[in-house]
Each structure stands twice: as C-alpha cells, then as structure tokens.
C-alpha cells in the first residue's frame, strides 16, 4: 500500500503524502460503499427471506421484486425528523450511533477480498477485528445511557454483558485457527487454506470443526441477532438501546447491524471456510466472488435462524456462554494444539 501510494504520488507529480492520503480516502470510500451496499442488499434479502418463511410475499412494490424498497426506506429515514429527547445527554446521544457504526466500518478495512485486493494488510488483522468488535459495546452503552430511558438502559446493560461475555468463546475459537495457521494475518490465513476443500480449517481437525460452530454461535450473539437479540428485544424492551433514536441516527445502528452481519460471516468464511479459495484447484473464479458467496450463505443461515427461533432469556444467554460455550472453547483450543503436535503434517 505504501508502495502504491508512492507510485501514485509519482504519477501525480505530488509529494508522497498526497498519494498516501488519496489512497486512504479511496480505500475508505470503497469500504464504506461495500458496507452500505451490503446493508441495503441484506435488508432487502432479510425481508424477502422473512416473507418466504412466514408465507407472505415480502416487499414487492418498489421496483422489481421490491428491490428498491430499502432505498426508499433510506430516503424516508433521511427525511425523518431528528428527535433528541429533552432529557438525553445530548453529546453522548449524538456520538453513540457513530461509534457503533465506525467500529463495524473500521473492522472491514482488514478484510482481504482476494490475494491482491485488500485495503490494509495488517499483521494482527484478527486481533484488530476482535478489538473493533468489542468497541461496539462502548457505543451501545453510550446510546442506552444517554437516551435517559430506562428500557434503553436495560437493553444497553444486556448488550454490554452479552457482547463482553461472548467475546471470550469467539476469541478462543479464533485462536484455534491461529494455532493452526500460525499467523494473525487474515491474508496469510486464507493462503494457508488453498488447494482442495479439505485443506479448509473447518475440516482440518475435529476441533476446528467445533470451533467453527462456536465462532458462528458466538458471532450471532455479538451481532445481537435472534436468538440472542436481547439488547433490543422488542417484546420486552420496546427496542432496547435504540428506543429513542429516529431517522438517520437510527439508520446508523441499522447499517451497523447489517454491516456486522456481513462482517462476522466474512470472518467465518475467511477463518474456517477457505476464504477466497474455491476448494477445487484450477477452477477460475475470482477470489472476491468466492468469499462473498460463502459469506452470503452464512448470512442466509443467520436469517433463517432469526425467523425461526424464539429468543433466550438474559440468564439463559449468559448460561449458554459461560457454562457451555466457554469450557467447550477451551477444550477446543487445547485439542487443536494437541492435534497439531500429534499430526504436524495435517496443518
């Protein structure tokens, strides 16, 4: 990237920093567009999927198959009155959605779309993603607290407790892969899975297979989706931490949620499902397409779960995390390490 910046500056006959900054802006805009477009597409997809599951049509008025529905909704949200409750902590209230959004947005930066197409090739990419995931908590707590609404506060508390708890099994599941790959760099991890699909980490050992499910369950919880959508549990807390938000501010939460949906699916695909690798050597499909296709399958799976399952209770969510997922995750990590020592050839 630095090299690109330098060459870009040279072609523009400008100082080096201009090239670097231009490139950064391009990268940021690209990531933002990806995220925004993905959110638009997923909102539409979710509504269609929900419609089919619930034996109804879903959106079908705006455009063919209602494909413009989300766009229309976005316009509506933009035009909506921006309400800030009188008793709210104004500065925090305004800041919160951006933090949630930025945390998700920032995590996208390290996703390598293919062996050559990436914005930042961070050596500690995985650590960075985990850190950004936790950063969301700050925004959620801020939103709940600043709204000065008791329901929001309850939602924020739930959200904080839940996300912080589920960090641990998720991190351990990630570590299982790191043990095998020996790197935190997302690009290197994918390269480690090239070749036939049994080289994918999910099939590398029974422990990684379990780790994949641990990661998937944990990431659903971190993304606050049913059956773990407690922070916004509609029937209990009206809308949880974003009860008081409207218009564009609310849309930022929404955008972040769907961005997050894609993010966790991408990470799962990268870590466990071979990332950009097709799985059959010699099949010429662009890497980015393969990665996105895998992610979309996972996204669909999450949607399916959401429209089928009821929600857990707070204590049950915590019990699932601390009583079942955590010991399992530790076991998986140890098992994967032992596996690597015993069968060094496999991974």
């Amino acid at each position: 990237m630095r090299e690109w910046g330098r060459s870009l500056a040279q072609t523009m006959h400008a100082p080096e920093w201009v090239g670097q900054v231009t490139l950064m802006v391009i990268g940021a805009v690209a990531v933002f567009l990806i995220m925004a477009l993905a959110a638009l597409a997923f909102v539409w997809l979710e509504r269609k999927v929900a419609g089919r599951i619930q034996s109804r049509y879903g959106p079908n008025r705006a455009g063919k198959f209602g494909i413009l529905q989300t766009l229309a909704d976005a316009v509506k949200l933009l035009l909506k009155e921006d309400i800030i409750p009188a008793a709210a902590d104004k500065s925090l209230f305004i800041l919160a959605p951006y933090i949630v959004f930025v945390a998700t947005f920032a995590a996208f930066v390290v996703i390598p779309w293919s062996s050559k197409l990436y914005v930042s090739d961070l050596d500690v990419g995985l650590l960075y993603i985990a850190a950004m995931g936790s950063f969301v908590v700050v925004g959620i707590l801020m939103a709940g607290w600043a709204s000065n609404n008791k329901w929001s506060l309850l939602g924020a508390m739930r959200g904080a407790a839940q996300i912080v708890s589920y960090e641990i099994p998720v991190a351990l599941a990630i570590l299982t892969v790191v043990v095998l790959a020996g790197t935190l760099n997302l690009r290197m991890i994918q390269e480690g899975q090239s070749g036939w699909f049994w080289k994918w980490y999910v099939f590398q050992s029974p422990f990684t297979f379990i780790a994949f499910f641990l990661y998937f369950v944990g990431s659903i919880a971190e993304a606050n989706r049913t059956p773990f959508d407690l922070p916004e549990a509609e029937q209990e807390l009206t809308a949880g931490f974003h009860t008081e938000y409207s218009g564009m501010r609310w849309a930022f939460f929404f955008l972040a949620e769907y961005g997050n949906l894609l993010l966790v699916s991408l990470v799962a695909a990268v870590l466990f499902l071979g990332g950009w690798n097709v799985g059959i050597p010699g099949v010429p499909i662009p890497g980015a397409l393969v990665l996105v296709a895998k992610a979309v399958v996972l996204v669909l799976l999450q949607m399916w779960l959401r429209w089928t399952l009821p929600r857990l209770r707070v204590d049950q969510v915590m019990a699932v995390c601390w009583k079942y997922l955590m010991p399992l995750a530790f076991g998986t990590l140890i098992g994967a390490g032992a596996w690597k020592m015993l069968f060094p050839g496999t991974a």
Binding site: E234, R311, R313, Q316
Partner: protein, 372 residues
Amino acid sequence: MSEVRTEEMVLNMGPQHPSTHGVFRVELVTDGEIVTETRPHIGYLHRCFEKHAEHLQYTGIIPFTDRLDYLSGMNQNFGFVLAVEKLLGSEIPERAEYIRVIMAELNRIASHLMMIGHMGTDAGAITPVLYGFRDREYILDLFEEVSGARLLYNYYRVGGVIADLTPGFVEKTRKYLDYLERVLNEFDQLLSENKIFRGRTVGVGVLPPKVAVDYAVTGPNLRACGVNWDLRRDEPYSIYPRFKFDVVVGREGPGVVGDSWNRYWVRVQEIRESAKIVRQALDGLPEGDFIKAPKSIRPPKGSEVYHRTETPRGELGYYVISDGTPTPVRVKVRSPGFVHISAIPAFCTNMMVADLVMAMGTLDFVMGEVDR
C-alpha cells in the same frame, strides 16, 4: 472500598409497549432485571359500554358486545343473547342452537390461534404469529360469508341468529378442520417442541390453583392450573351437553402445573377439542328455522339474571337487569381479562422482565374487554 449505592428502579411498561397487547400499563419495581413488584393500571381503552347499554335497546346492545373482545366477537354475542333469552324464557330453534355453537367454537379456534401466535412473538419468534393470522384468515372468511363482517360480527340475535348458513358452508368448514389438524402440528414443531421456547415458558409465572380460585381466574388459565373446570361442561348452556369433548387440564410434563407452558399448551389442545365439537355440530346440524324472534324484547319488570359463558378467555358474565322497558336498567359485564389482570400482582413477582412478558402474554387478555 465504599459501598456502591443501588436502588430499585420503577419502570412503566406501557401504555404503549409491544407486549402489553393493547393499551395497558404495568408499573414494575425492578431490581436490575428482576421484577419485584407489579402494579397494573387499566382504563386506557374504556369506552363506556355499560353506560351505553343503559341507553340502548337489547338488540342494539349486541353490536357493542362485539367490541368488548374483538378477537372473539361471536362468543361475546352468544353470552349476551343467552342472558336476555334467559330473562325472556324464550325458545330457540334447533338449527339456530347448532349454528351458534359452530360459530362460537370456530371463534374460539380463531382466538386461540392468535394467542398461540402471539406467544411466539412474546418469546421473540415472529413467525408463528403470521401462521396464526394465516390460519385464522380462513375462519374469518367463513364468518364473512355468514355475517358479512370479518371482525365485529353482530351475528347472534335474541331467538336465534340473523342469517342462515350459506350454501357450502358445511363443506368448507369440514375442509378447514382437516387443514387445521395439519397446521397445528406445524405449531407444535415451531413452538411446542422448541427447546428455547420451552426454556422460556416452563416453570415461568406459576399461578398456584389456590390463588387462581381466589382471584376468580377462569377459562384456559384456570385449567392450566390443574383445576378441572369448564362452564361448557360444568354449568352447561345452549346445547353443549350433546357434544363429546375433553376438558383439557394443565399437567406435569414438560411444564409445571400452572406455568406459562401449560397455559399455552391448554390452548393448543383446546383448539383440537373445539374442532371436535364443530365436527359433531356439523354432523348433527338439523334443517329448520334459524331464528324465532320474540314479538318484543321486554323482559319482565324487576327481573335480573347473571349469566356466564365460557369464552376463549374464560368466564364472561352478563348481569342484566330489566325494568320492563325495551332498554335494560343495567348491563354489567364481568370480563375474564379484567379479573386476570387483577391477579397479576399476586403471582408476577420476583421474575425477570422477560418472564413477566411471558406470564402476562399467556394470560391472554384483550384490553377491549378489560376496560369495556
């Protein structure tokens, strides 16, 4: 380290809250997520039914009864006309009796379908409610055929019903009942056998039978507490004694007697029982008049009656006093929901907010009948 100061938080659940099913407010005293005290407040949907009734003639009151519990309008009609008929001592044609029972039981199915669906929503599963709507739709179509209305039927009259069954009604209903059996299994898969759903309902909001009787809780909620009591069997009205059906009672199984799970399960089973009754009534449906209207509806001066019927929500009582004129002196409605809400403080304590939602949701009240 200085002690952290904690205090209880008073939360207002409602009047506009997704899980209060209408405009209903509960004041919650919470300690973190645990509700230590509940104080229900009602009256947001008060529409002066009883005052209106004192200005209207008996037949004119019937459409108002629909609006009491808008999910089971037929049953509300039924109770009122029965009370008036009891005052008049009038006779009802056989066919009308059968039609009445068919409608009342179909409406019970429709109402329970809604309740089951909303149970799912309360638990966070949004799909079952749409299945409930979908399957209720066929019943509404049938009602629309006979009464012209889909929600507020105004179908029962003193002395019978306002219109005969339409051609093909019997066959359509039979077909629907066959279909219903299949979809009920779908509900079982989605909710009844779902581990999360059971985790959310089993042992939640246990209403002890003693408290239930003390608070005069009735209907499915009472039966879920293990009390074998059904007005259709124990204080029979209309032609219910002619039909064979089981009274479903809450049991130890996946759930504990009196918990949310049993309140849910009793309703699922009651749909099956109602379907049985409808089938028998369709088989026995005689030919003849569908109404034998009395010349004038003027119950004797000073006569009064308290008549209760089993609606999908429990015991609906009409206390009607006549002074010999075509308008009643007093019509008091004893609605099941009103009574059930009064029981909430008695058993909804020391539970999580999420459990409270389930416990209240399974009581299945409709604010229309609570506030009247």
